[in-house]
């Protein structure tokens, strides 16, 4: 049995930031466990730029952003194990992991930080009809093949889903010589950032078909054609609107799911909306001493927010092992109402908040000229104007300790109020 003060599961942006921040706050004995052959997580395959505008005030690519944290972690002498798979985390913070050098190892941690990230929804999750040939891939898998392993995945490509990964891959494959015939999106709006629609699709004259989905895949060994049809308000395909595209590849960018098998086996309570653990102001889960941060909690669109959130988890874990985190006192419940799907964190303990706390949330539709209203027991605490709010872009609101202490609140809600045009 090995003993560590803090074990971080996952060496992506969340795990790296949490481990570094825990060390800065006095934790000495830290171990990061990563299942890939290197640190950095999914950032290593996100070779496009646009990372780090908030944290570093400059525009970096994914690998550059990751390398800054990897260098800092190594300089601090924080231990890590690569090629190592965690099999189990128990509620008393024992971890079972394995790799080809150590074999099976058991670790007792004083605090655990879950930073396993998320994974992609696949064809099975959205039940696309048709045959089952090779050439149907998730966009992230294709991204790894093309950007890291050096395999081109097809010549004529149709993409389903207009989330940022789908848009980025449309441009990437075009640059590498493939023909991207269309990007189909089930919703009446794209889930990606507007700037990505401009610089990834419009720059290369790739059509974006809103209110469309894939209704058939043809091909025996390899994809030969994909049929796309328009959908009605109930997302049912409209007969007679089918368009058939001869192609060899279908990419799916149809959503991400927080990866919580380990959390479930530990008995951690999950939120049905986010798919991740229910966390408090310290990013602590329903089990004392187990913290969570990054995409394992809720899917972010900017890595910068992952870093901010993970720093909070790292800092809290360091305070926890020193006994400086209180579990006593009053807990305020947070919830999203009127167009706000969820708010993270889910619970607040005023005693543990130093000055202010960042609330992160997602809206359920596209809104223009609205106000995000924070209410405590129904009375308005704070209002923030938004010219533009979309499900593809996470909203953050900073609330101060002073604002939280305006009344003796049991519940704080955030909702949308439509403003004057």
């Amino acid at each position: 049995m090995f003993n560590y003060e803090i074990v971080v599961i996952g060496g992506g942006p969340a795990g790296l930031a949490a481990a570094i921040e825990a060390r800065k706050n006095g934790a000495k004995n830290i171990l990061v466990i990563e299942r890939d052959r290197e640190l950095g997580g999914i950032l290593q395959q996100c070779i496009h730029n646009g990372f780090g505008l908030h944290v570093f005030k400059e525009e970096l690519t994914g690998p550059e952003y990751a390398e800054k944290f990897i260098q800092e972690l190594i300089t601090m002498g924080i231990e890590y194990k690569l090629d190592t798979m965690v099999l189990e985390v128990t509620d008393n913070r024992q971890i079972t992991a394995m790799n080809t050098i150590d074999g099976i190892i058991h670790i007792q941690a004083k605090a655990v930080i879950l930073a396993m990230g998320c994974r992609e929804r696949t064809r099975g999750a959205i039940r696309i009809p048709g045959t089952r040939p090779a050439g149907v891939l998730t966009a992230g898998t294709a991204q790894r093949f093309v950007n890291m392993e050096g395999y081109m995945i097809g010549k004529r490509v149709v993409i389903l889903g207009s989330g940022d990964i789908g848009l980025i891959m449309a441009r990437r494959l075009t640059l590498e010589g493939a023909e991207v015939l269309a990007v189909a999106e089930l919703m009446p709006f794209s889930g990606g950032l507007t700037r990505n629609i401009v610089q990834c699709l419009e720059d290369f004259n790739i059509p974006l078909l809103l209110n469309h989905t894939v209704v058939d895949i043809e091909g025996h060994d390899r994809v030969e054609a994909v049929t796309i049809a328009q959908v009605d308000e109930g997302f049912k395909a409209i007969q007679g609107t089918e368009k058939r595209f001869e192609c060899d590849t279908l990419l799916l960018s149809v959503g991400l799911i927080p990866e919580n098998e380990l959390s479930k086996s530990a008995g951690i309570a999950l939120d049905k909306v986010t798919g991740g653990p229910i966390v408090n102001e310290s990013m602590e889960t329903s089990i004392e001493g187990i913290f969570a941060c990054g995409n394992v909690v809720h899917v972010h669109d900017l890595v910068d927010w992952v870093t901010e959130e993970s720093k909070r988890a790292g800092r809290s874990a360091a305070q926890y092992i020193k006994g400086k985190l209180t579990s006593k006192g009053k807990t305020i419940k947070l919830k999203g109402t009127n167009g706000v799907r969820y708010v993270v964190p889910h619970l607040l303990k005023i005693e543990n908040i130093a000055e202010s706390i960042e609330l992160m949330m997602r809206v359920d539709n596209i809104y223009r000229n609205v106000k995000l209203v924070v209410r405590g027991n129904g009375e308005v605490i704070k209002e923030i104007k938004r010219k533009h709010a979309t499900p593809g872009e996470m909203e953050t609101i900073k609330v101060t300790l002073k604002e939280l202490s305006l009344g003796d609140y049991d519940e704080i809600s955030v909702g949308i109020v439509k403003g004057e045009e």
Partner: protein, 144 residues
Amino acid sequence: MVEAKDMVCIVCPLGCKLKVTKDNASEAGFAVEGNKCPRGLDYGIKEMTNPTRVLTTTVKITHAALNRIPVRTKGAIPKPLIFQAMKLMNEVEVKAPVKVGQVVIKNILGTGIDVIASRSIYKKAELNHYFCHSQRKDFAELII
């Protein structure tokens, strides 16, 4: 030249809808409407006169655990040169080790802009040492 053009600004996530029209009275020769900040003004004029983009892609790498290394142009290059630049980059081959920021192609297509590696990659054998453990001083020195 086009007299007027509608476009979406890509400088920040706000995505302002711009209308850029020819205006001989102004210094730049164009008038921009719909921008909520001065960066949108610059973007609108640039899109009409000389649209540019930062190009991010990969080049071949040997003696490494991976087959491709990500690279980017250090600044924005003219949009019409993007496919020509891609062709050039597909002919480049680098050998590990490579350090982040290392110049892969100098002054690509005479733009005055270098193409740089956007991550460090070590030799395959070196990488294997670090597979399982940490805290190796030599690795720390290598990477810094």
